[in-house]
C-alpha cells in the first residue's frame, strides 16, 4: 500500500508540473498577474510531492519491502542501514527519482531566493523548469517507475547493492554530482526566460550569476568526489579514466566554466550576451546528453545502467525537443540581444573570449572522442571500437597549458581597454621570476633536468606570482594593507581562490602522472619488495568478518629507507549475498604523496599477488577542487547579489554596474 502512495505522489507531482509548465508562462506572455503568481505555490507543491515520493522509496528500503522491484534488486536484509537509505540512488529508477527531486529542490530555491527578480521573469523561469520536470516525471512513470511491484511472489531477500557502491563516497558522490548537474537547468531556465522576454541585460546577468556559480561549484565537488572514489575504491591507482560516463560531466563542467566567465563579461560590460545564452543552452544539453549516455547503455562503461532501448529513445527525444526548441527560440530571438560596448585588443574581454574558446574546444574534443565509437559503429555497420586515453590526453593537456598561460594575464588585464605597456609593466618581473624559480627549484631538488616538472613549476609559479602582483597593485594606493585587502570584494577573493585551486589540481595531475610508480608482486608471508625509497614487508593475512562480507586482511609493514613508517591493512572482500568479490586498499595518504597496496589473489602455496603504489602529489588534485568549489561558493555570497532591489527598467541597473568597475577585478 505504502509504495502505491509514493507512486500516487509522483503522479501528482507530474500533474502539478504540467500546470507549472504552462499557466505561468502563458500568464507572463499575456500579462495575467494571477497566472504568473501561481508559479511559486505550484513549485512548492511539486517539491512536496516529489519529496513524499522519495521518502516513501527510502522507507521501502529501510523496511526491506522486497515486493518493490527496485528495492529487491538493490538491497538486502543484511545491508547496513546507511547503505539501505542511499541505495535509493543505487540504480537507474531510484537515482532518477532522486535526480528529479533535486530539480524540485533547485526550483524551490529559485522561488525562495529570487524575491528581487520581477514576478513576470520568475514566472517564466519556474515555468521552464516545470516543463523540464514534466519530462523527467513522465520518463519515470512511463519507462522506469521505481515503485513497480514484483507481485504476486516477492523474493524472500533482495539481490543486494552492488559491492563497489557500498562505500562512504557513494553516500556523497551521487548527491553532489546530481545537484551540480541539475543546477545547470536553473541557468538554462534563466536563459530561456531571457529569450522569451527579450530582456537580457546586466541585471539579468546578476540574477543568473549566483545560480551558475553555485551549480558549477557543486558540480566541481561532485566530479572530484567521483574521481577520489574511483581512485581508492577501484584500487588501480587511477583517478580519471576518460570513461564515456566520466566525460559528459566534465564536458558540462568545462562549458559551465566557460559560461561563468562569459557571464562575468555580460554582467560587467554588457558583452557576449547571446554567447552566454548559447553556453547556458549547451551546458544544459550536455547534462541531458550525459543522462542519455549513462542510462541508454549505448556505450561500454563501468557506470552503464542496465540496458533498455526505450529509455534511450525517450531521453533522446526529450533531448531533441529541449535542445531543438531552445535553439529555435535562440535563432529567432538572439538577434535582438545586442552587445553594447566595444573593447580593445588587450582588454579583459579578449582574454575571457580566449578562455571561452579554449574551454569550448576542449569540451568539443572530449565529446568527439566520447561519441566516436557510437558513430563509427553506426557508419561501419557494427564494427566496435574504443577510443583510448592517449587521444584525450593529446588534446586536453596542451589546451589546459595554454589556458594556464592566459590565466596569468587575464585577471590582471582591465576591462574595455588595457595598454600593452600596462601589462608589460605588471607582468615582466612576474614572468622572469616564474621562469627562473620554476627552472631552479626542480633542478636543485632532483639534481637533473626534469622537463615536465620544470614546465609545471614555471606555469604554477607564473599564476601564483601574477595573483600576488594583482592583489598588490590593487591595494597599492590604499591607506594600509589591511584596509586595502578589506576593500576588495568577496567575489574577487572567490575568483582568486578558484584560480589557485585550478592550478593546484592541474599541477597535482601533471606531477602525479610524472612521478607515480607501481609494481605488482607475488609475496609469501615474510617476503618483501622494494618500490622507490620504500620497502613493503608482507606479514601474511587473517580472515575478517564484516557486516555483510567476509574478507582476507593482509598486514604489510612499510619502511622508508629502512625505517618503519606504518602498517597497511588491505582487504580482499567477498560480499556474501551477491557472491561478489571486492578489494579494499590499504592506504597511507599524506599531503605530498600516497602509498597504497591492493591485494590480488592467493596461490596454492599461500603466496598473495598484490600491487604496490607510490603516488606523489595525487592529493593535490582533490584538494585543488575543494578550493575551486569554495571559491565559487564564496563568489555567490558577494553582497552585490543581494544589495539591489531591481526595478522594472534595466537602465537603472546599468549605472551601478558601471560605477563598480573601477573597484573590482
Amino acid at each position: 500500500m505504502i509504495p502505491e502512495l509514493g507512486n500516487f505522489a509522483l503522479i501528482l507531482a507530474f500533474c502539478l508540473s504540467i500546470v507549472l509548465g504552462t499557466l505561468p508562462i502563458i500568464g507572463a506572455a499575456r500579462d495575467n498577474t494571477l497566472w504568473m503568481s501561481l508559479a511559486r505555490p505550484l513549485t512548492a507543491g511539486v517539491f512536496v510531492f516529489l519529496s513524499i515520493s522519495l521518502v516513501i522509496l527510502g522507507y521501502s528500503f529501510v523496511t526491506d519491502d522486497f515486493s518493490v522491484q527496485f528495492v529487491a534488486n538493490h538491497s538486502n536484509t543484511n545491508l547496513p542501514l546507511q547503505y539501505k537509505i542511499t541505495a535509493v540512488w543505487g540504480g537507474h529508477e531510484g537515482s532518477f527519482l532522486f535526480w528529479t527531486w533535486m530539480l524540485g529542490g533547485w526550483m524551490l530555491a529559485v522561488a525562495i531566493f529570487s524575491k528581487s527578480v520581477p514576478e513576470e521573469f520568475i514566472a517564466r523561469v519556474l515555468g521552464v523548469m516545470g516543463l523540464i520536470c514534466v519530462g523527467y516525471t513522465l520518463f519515470m512513470l512511463a519507462t522506469s517507475n521505481p515503485f513497480d511491484r514484483v507481485l504476486p511472489l516477492p523474493p524472500a531477500d533482495g539481490a543486494d547493492l552492488n559491492a563497489a557502491l557500498q562505500d562512504f563516497a557513494f553516500i556523497v558522490h551521487p548527491p553532489s554530482l546530481y545537484m551540480g548537474y541539475v543546477g545547470f537547468s536553473v541557468v538554462f531556465a534563466f536563459a530561456v526566460a531571457a529569450l522569451l522576454s527579450g530582456r537580457l541585460d546586466a541585471a539579468w546577468a546578476r540574477w543568473c550569476r549566483p545560480w551558475a556559480n553555485a551549480a558549477w561549484a557543486i558540480l566541481t565537488l561532485g566530479l572530484s568526489l567521483g574521481s577520489w572514489w574511483a581512485y581508492y575504491e577501484l584500487g588501480w591507482g587511477g583517478w580519471w579514466a576518460w570513461d564515456p560516463v566520466e566525460n559528459p560531466p566534465l564536458i558540462t563542467w568545462l562549458l559551465g566554466a566557460a559560461m561563468i566567465h562569459s557571464l562575468a563579461a555580460t554582467e560587467k560590460r554588457g558583452v557576449f550576451k547571446s554567447w552566454t545564452v548559447l553556453l547556458a543552452i549547451m551546458a544544459f544539453a550536455s547534462s541531458l546528453l550525459g543522462t542519455f549516455i549513462t542510462r541508454s547503455g549505448l556505450l561500454t562503461s563501468v557506470h552503464a545502467f542496465a540496458t533498455d532501448p526505450t529509455r534511450g529513445v525517450y531521453i533522446l527525444g526529450f533531448l531533441g525537443l529541449i535542445v531543438g526548441g531552445s535553439l529555435l527560440l535562440y535563432a529567432i530571438r538572439a538577434p535582438i540581444l545586442k552587445s553594447e560596448f566595444g573593447f580593445g585588443n588587450w582588454s579583459r574581454e579578449v582574454f575571457l573570449l580566449a578562455n571561452n574558446l579554449i574551454l569550448v574546444v576542449a569540451s568539443a574534443a572530449i565529446l568527439l572522442g566520447t561519441l566516436y565509437p557510437m558513430v563509427y559503429q553506426a557508419v561501419s555497420g557494427g564494427d566496435l571500437i574504443s577510443v583510448g586515453p592517449p587521444y584525450f590526453n593529446t588534446i586536453f593537456v596542451p589546451l589546459m597549458g595554454i589556458l594556464v598561460v592566459l590565466l596569468g594575464i587575464g585577471p590582471v588585464a582591465r576591462w574595455k581597454r588595457t595598454s600593452r605597456e600596462y601589462l608589460r609593466q605588471q607582468l615582466t618581473r612576474v614572468a622572469i621570476a616564474a621562469v627562473v624559480l620554476g627552472v631552479a627549484i626542480p633542478v636543485l631538488l632532483t639534481m637533473s633536468v626534469p622537463l615536465g616538472t620544470i614546465g609545471v613549476c614555471v606555469l604554477a609559479l607564473w599564476i601564483m606570482f601574477s595573483m600576488l602582483r594583482d592583489v598588490a597593485s590593487k591595494v597599492a594606493n590604499k591607506p594600509s594593507l589591511m584596509a586595502g585587502l578589506k576593500s576588495l570584494p568577496v567575489s574577487y577573493w572567490g575568483m582568486q581562490l578558484a584560480h589557485f585551486g585550478f592550478v593546484m589540481t592541474m599541477a597535482g595531475a601533471c606531477l602525479t602522472s610524472i612521478y607515480s610508480i607501481e609494481r605488482s608482486v607475488l609475496l609469501q608471508a615474510g617476503q618483501q619488495a622494494d618500490l622507490g625509497r620504500y620497502t613493503f614487508v608482507f606479514e601474511g593475512t587473517r580472515p575478517v568478518q564484516g557486516p555483510n562480507y567476509i574478507a582476507d586482511e593482509g598486514t604489510i609493514r612499510v619502511l622508508r629507507e629502512g625505517e618503519f613508517l606504518r602498517t597497511l591493512h588491505p582487504q580482499k572482500q567477498l560480499y556474501t549475498a551477491s557472491n561478489t568479490p571486492a578489494t579494499h586498499m590499504g592506504i597511507d595518504g599524506r599531503f605530498l604523496r600516497d602509498l597504497f597496496v591492493t591485494l590480488g589473489d592467493p596461490r596454492d602455496n599461500g603466496a598473495w599477488s598484490m600491487t604496490l603504489y607510490v603516488k606523489p602529489f595525487v592529493r593535490w588534485i582533490w584538494l585543488g577542487t575543494i578550493f575551486i568549489a569554495f571559491g565559487g561558493i564564496l563568489a555567490v555570497t558577494d553582497k552585490r547579489y543581494r544589495r539591489y532591489k531591481v526595478s522594472k527598467q534595466a537602465a537603472a541597473d546599468e549605472q551601478p554596474a558601471e560605477a563598480r568597475l573601477a573597484g573590482e577585478h
Binding site: A304, V361, A364, I385, S386, T394, L522
Partner: protein
Amino acid sequence: MKPHRRKKLGIILFIATGLSVAIGLSLYALSSNIDLFFTPSQVAAGEVTPGQRIRVGGMVKEGSVEHNQEDLQVRFIATDYSHDVDIYYSGILPDLFREGQGIVVEGAMGADGTFIASRVLAKHDENYMSPEVKAAMDAAELQRSMTQGGT
C-alpha cells in the same frame, strides 16, 4: 571597412582558425588512438594483424586458467564457443574475473598466435554486461545454433 566591422571580422577569423586547427588535431589524434574490437571467431579467421593494438572479447573458458605459481604470469582461453583464443597476461586479474564470465582483453596478437594482453577488463557486476562482450556472445550463440541446425 569600418573599424568595428574589421574587429568583428578579426575575432571571427581568430575563432574559425582556432576551431579548425583544433578539429584537425582532434581527428588526427583520434585516427591514431582507436582500438578495434574482435571476437575470437574473427581472430581465428585471421582477420588480425600481429602487433596491432586491438581488443578481444569473449568468455573465459572453464578450466582454462593457469596461474604460474612462481610469479604473476597467467594464461587462459577466451572463447565465443565456436573458436578459442589463447591469452597471456602478466599482472593481477580484476576482481570479477572468473571462469565462465565475459571479459574484454586489450593488447596485441603475438607471432605464435597467443594474444598478449596488456589489460584485462571484467564486466562490472552480475547485471551489467559490456555491449562488446554481449555482441560477441550473441554472435557466438547465433553461430552455435546454426552449426547445430546443420548437423
